[in-house]
């Protein structure tokens, strides 16, 4: 069977004041369908940068990234947008809901952009499933942090993406909410047969994934 994602010899350089800094070096690994992976490592090691490369939000300086056999590293901005729109959901540490949209509108946005029928109905279903049935019309400022992150996850999975990227999804939450969110996320992934790549500092959370990739100074130091 084909791989969902394949990175080979991927590097990322940033240029500051004409100095090129090597952030990621020769990263190679593969991700299967329905696989869950956590990426761990010290602060500044390059975890977020790696997630951004996979999500097509940053361009790699060398190497190749294949998403379902198509190479995204040399696609145009708009082509990557198209792939992200349909296949990749992203969850951020700071939630990032659109402040003047209600919970429901934040979730249905993706569905509408992809011109799916019954966008509102589907958005309601997923919010319902995440225990937010009485929060549809609240603006983000009227939701608690845990609720905001649940809405954000709902937004990222509502298109039923094959890959979910999450960067410290529980980083801004207390332990009770962390547990809540993680069980919700992992249950969903199991039910819907999605894959997950998640950056986390939280060992308990990392242990829930099938595989763990440890990054140190921009290289993979362990891939278990």
């Amino acid at each position: 069977m084909n791989k969902l994602l394949k990175l080979s010899n991927v590097s990322l350089n940033y240029t500051i004041d004409n100095n090129s800094i090597n952030i990621l070096k020769n990263i190679s690994f593969e991700v299967d369908y329905k696989e869950t992976i956590s990426i761990v490592g010290e602060s500044g090691s390059g975890k977020t940068s790696l997630i951004m490369l996979i999500g097509g939000l940053e361009k790699n300086s060398a190497g190749n990234i294949f998403f379902k056999d198509s190479e995204i590293s040399n696609m145009t901005e708009d082509e990557i947008s198209e792939i992200r729109r349909k296949n990749i959901g992203i969850v951020f540490q700071s939630f990032y809901l659109i402040p003047n949209y209600t919970a429901l509108e934040n979730v249905s946005l993706s569905l509408e952009i992809n011109k799916l029928d019954n966008a509102t109905k589907k958005a309601k279903e997923i919010l319902d499933r995440f225990g937010l049935s009485n929060r549809f019309n609240n603006l983000p400022s009227q939701l608690s942090g845990g609720e905001q992150q649940r809405v954000a996850i709902a937004r990222s999975v509502v298109m039923k993406p094959e890959l979910i990227l999450a960067d410290e999804p529980t980083g801004n939450l207390d332990s009770e909410n962390t547990e809540n969110i993680s069980s919700l996320l992992f249950n969903y992934i199991k039910d819907e047969n999605a894959s997950l790549i998640m950056v986390t500092h939280d060992n308990n959370l990392a242990n829930l994934t099938k595989r763990k990739i440890i990054i140190k100074d921009g290289v993979i130091s362990e891939n278990q």
Partner: protein, 841 residues
């Protein structure tokens, strides 16, 4: 993009707009004001022209006019016309009207219209009391005077007045005449019966009787047939012109055109200043939406589609704003109606015009697109990856070669739209060129101020230091303040300088050069008596008395000039109807010869003509060309022998055409005189009229006060409209301050923590304002001086002076308004609360 995509994005645009319109309120306000001004101009212009067109028959006074060049027509031919239609014969002339039975008798120069019982054929005369109009032709020696004469001469109904030695009974007051002839627009007038006029035997030499024959078809359906019959009647009479309703009121139309053209230029300036604010506010709006846009990108909406949503928001606002602005303009029509109906007797009504609404919308659209391209393009700079880093770079205007060329192209379209609608595109183009030069200069001025202050040349108090920091910081509002206020100030100052110089020159000409009185219609045998009486009254009176005859210029080199010189020609008045011509032996002092030579006395039997050089230029006449003049019905051919420089503004006696005396002395003529008294009180108009009942007296100061009255009205209207550019500038500035809100609050909070007093912080705002404002005044004054000097000296050919009072009124007025605005806007940020900042809201 597909249609259903568009409807989806429109939905988002609508939603976003509804939820955050308050953030772009300043865009909405400035656009609304400037589009409202434009709508108002278009609507009023349209209403006026509609009124003129719809009432063209009323204005002409009939379905047709038989124009005998204002002379009495052939009675037999008129009879024939009367057989197939209704004819109204009107005779107009100017004369004096005076009271005779009062303690203090007074006189007034008046235009009298002698009407028959058919008058008016169209429209209504408004008069009091009921029935008095009809009585004019039933009872001899009755007269209706206008309200102004009634008031000035202290008249009561049934009082007796005197016109040319004949007594009239005032039987009523007339308020409005339907046919506004040129002379009736600003002057006094009276109505009397045609029969009375015949008795007056005014048909004496040179009384300047204007005969008018208005015709109404009894059966309008057969109009074309009737017109042909009438044409046939006058077939062999080339002196007769038939005038149609379409070309009535051509002069007024031209004035309206020029005036509205000028106002459109002012309104487009307002719009461009608003544009600067639009770009700025929009940038801050998009900056606030930074993270939302990043999320949209993360979800997979591409940059182009996000930009579409923002353009759609602008489009939706614009549709709404155009409709409101256009709708509001209808409320202004009654106000203007009130303002002009006194003078013109027109009643305007607003009428909806899809074209105008479309023009308003298109102009708004062009301005929005031009100024939002670099702003909306900055959306490209937003990266979804910011969401991982929690840092959002503040956006900058994004210029690409493509967007700059697109903006320039649209700007060119916008300018062309205005320039080529105008009758004189060159003026509009010069105006736009100056506008952009000013804009560029003010931009560099703001750069220069920042550069200068950045170098820390001064060692100053703490408030000044804060002020300088504010001006030189990267998000400083200085460039916007300087550009928007600078342009508005320049325009306002220029117009104020032009207006004040113009008014001063007109007012000044009364005591200095202009005579006190004009005397018209002095007969040959009265000339010596006239001179004697003036000398007896005031020995030191300066008298100028010249012969005069009225002549029509009917052919130039054998061709009727009306066939090739249009009524938009500056010198059209020379051929419009008969002109007064005169003759002198020596070259008039203030009329130097520019080309040709003075009279050739070796040819006394040949008519020689000296022509105003401006008229010569406008008509393309050369020395040696042949003019055919019609004097008392006789056509005489003469040769143009020289061109004189004539300055009509000094109000002394000036003629477009002078004739050689050797030839002209033999023509029966009368005299025209101007007098400047040493002691004006010694002259009694009523006593004078007892001796010279047929002479008309025009008191220059009365005449000038009427002219200045009209000028004042125009000046006020123009000032109000140009003040709008300053108001828009102020809105732009206050929105720029509001955009700075976060920085300001943060800064003030830091100051508070550091222990500065509010006084010091306010002081710093004032210093900041003074630095910008002084440079604005400096440069806008230079521009205004140059522009107004050019207009006054080259277009109006008057003397220009720096009007220091006006300068102070305008600068202090605008300065106080701006300062108040800055302090009020800043005041809200003066007492920052600490906790919202800590909570990172």
């Amino acid at each position: 993009m597909k249609i259903n995509d568009l409807s989806l994005y429109s939905k988002y645009a609508f939603r976003d707009l509804l939820r955050s319109y308050s953030k772009i309120l300043s865009i909405i306000i400035t656009l609304l004001i400037s589009l409202f001004i434009l709508s108002a101009i278009l609507t009023i212009e349209d209403s006026l022209e509609n009124e003129l067109n719809e009432n063209s028959k009323v204005l002409l006074g009939g379905d047709l006019e038989i124009d005998y060049n204002n002379r009495e027509g052939d009675k037999n031919l008129i009879k024939q016309v009367e057989n197939i239609s209704t004819v109204s014969q009107i005779v107009e002339f100017s004369t004096m009207i005076s009271t005779i039975e009062k303690k203090q008798n007074k006189t007034s120069f008046t235009r009298i219209k002698a009407i028959d019982q058919n008058y008016p054929l169209y429209g209504d005369v408004i008069f009091e009391p009921v029935g008095s109009l009809k009585k004019l032709n039933e009872i001899d020696n009755t007269i209706l005077v206008n309200e102004n004469i009634f008031k000035n001469l202290n008249l009561k109904i049934n009082d007796i007045v005197k016109v040319q030695n004949i007594k009239f009974k005032v039987i009523g007051v007339v308020k409005v005449l339907p046919d506004i002839g040129g002379a009736f627009v600003f002057g006094d007038f009276a109505l009397t019966g045609k029969k009375t006029l015949d008795k007056l035997e005014l048909n004496t030499l040179g009384s300047f009787l204007n005969y008018e024959y208005k015709i109404k078809f009894d059966d309008y359906k057969n109009k074309d047939k009737k017109i042909n019959e009438i044409k046939k009647i006058f077939k062999n009479n080339d002196k007769v012109k038939i005038r149609y309703p379409e070309n009535s009121a051509g002069g007024i139309k031209r004035i309206i055109d020029n005036f509205s053209q000028f106002l459109s230029l002012v309104s487009i300036s307002a719009m461009l200043i608003a544009g600067i604010g639009i770009a700025n506010t929009l940038l801050s709006f998009i900056n606030q939406k930074n993270s939302s846009i990043a999320v949209q990108k993360a979800i997979g909406i591409n940059s182009g589609n996000i930009k579409t949503i923002y353009y759609l928001q602008l489009l939706i606002s614009l549709i709404f704003i155009s409709l409101v602005a256009y709708g509001l303009s209808f409320f202004l029509v009654p106000v203007v109606d009130k303002y002009i109906s006194d003078g013109l007797g027109l009643n305007i009504q607003a009428s909806f015009s899809l074209t105008n609404l479309f023009i308003v919308f298109m102009v708004g659209l062009l301005v929005i697109i031009i100024f939002s391209i670099p702003t909306v393009n900055s959306i490209d700079q937003i990266k979804a990856s910011s969401l991982f880093r929690n840092v959002f770079q503040s956006l900058q205007f994004k210029y690409s070669k493509l967007s700059i060329s697109l903006s320039l192209l649209l700007l060119t379209i916008l300018i062309s739209l205005f320039a080529f609608r105008s009758s004189i595109p060159t003026y509009s183009l010069i105006y736009f060129a100056s506008f952009f030069v000013c804009l560029a200069v003010f931009f560099y001025v703001s750069r220069f101020i920042i550069l200068l202050l950045r170098n820390n040349l001064f060692n100053l108090g703490i408030s000044s230091k804060i002020a300088i920091k504010n001006i030189t910081q990267s998000k400083s509002i200085t460039p916007i303040t300087v550009m928007s206020l600078g342009l508005g100030m320049t325009l306002l100052l220029t117009l104020a300088f032009v207006g004040s110089n113009f008014k001063r020159e007109i007012a000044k000409s009364i005591p200095e050069i202009a005579p006190d009185y004009f005397f018209l219609g002095i007969q040959n045998n009265q000339k010596n008596l006239f001179k004697k009486i003036i000398i007896d009254t005031d020995k030191e009176a300066v008298t100028e008395i010249v012969p005069m005859v009225s002549a029509g210029l009917v052919k130039i080199n054998g061709i009727d000039p009306n066939t090739y010189i249009s009524n938009s020609n500056d010198s059209y008045w020379v051929i419009m109807n008969d002109r007064r011509v005169s003759w002198v032996n020596t070259i008039p002092k203030d009329n130097p010869i520019l080309e040709g030579s003075w009279w050739d006395t070796s040819k006394p039997n040949k008519l020689q003509i000296s022509l105003d050089s401006k008229v010569a230029k406008d008509f393309g006449v050369n020395i040696g060309d042949k003019f055919t003049l019609r004097i008392y019905g006789r056509e005489i051919e003469g040769e143009v022998v020289n061109f004189r420089l004539v300055n009509y503004q000094d109000l002394s006696i000036n003629f477009a055409m002078l004739l050689n005396p050797q030839f002209a002395e033999n023509i029966p003529h009368e005299y025209l005189s101007t007098i400047k008294f040493k002691n004006i009180k010694s002259f009694n108009e009523v006593n004078f009229l007892d001796k010279f009942p047929s002479v008309s007296i025009i008191k220059i100061s009365d005449y000038l006060s009427k002219v200045t009255d009209v000028l004042n009205k125009v000046f006020i209207a123009v000032s109000i409209i140009s003040a709008v550019t300053v108001i828009i500038g102020l809105v732009v500035i206050s929105s720029a301050i509001i955009v700075q809100r976060k920085i300001k609050i943060f800064q003030n909070l830091v100051f508070k923590i550091l222990g500065f007093s509010k006084k010091e912080i306010i002081m710093s705002s004032i210093i900041e304002f003074i630095i910008s404002f002084l440079s604005i005044i400096f440069f806008s004054t230079i521009f205004a001086v140059l522009a107004s000097k050019f207009i006054i000296e080259n277009i109006f050919q008057l003397k220009w002076l720096f009007e220091i009072n006006i300068f102070f009124y305008v600068t202090i007025g605008v300065g106080v308004a701006t300062l108040a605005l800055i302090i009020i806007t800043n005041f809200r940020y003066l007492s920052p609360k600490v906790y919202p900042l800590v909570r990172n809201e």
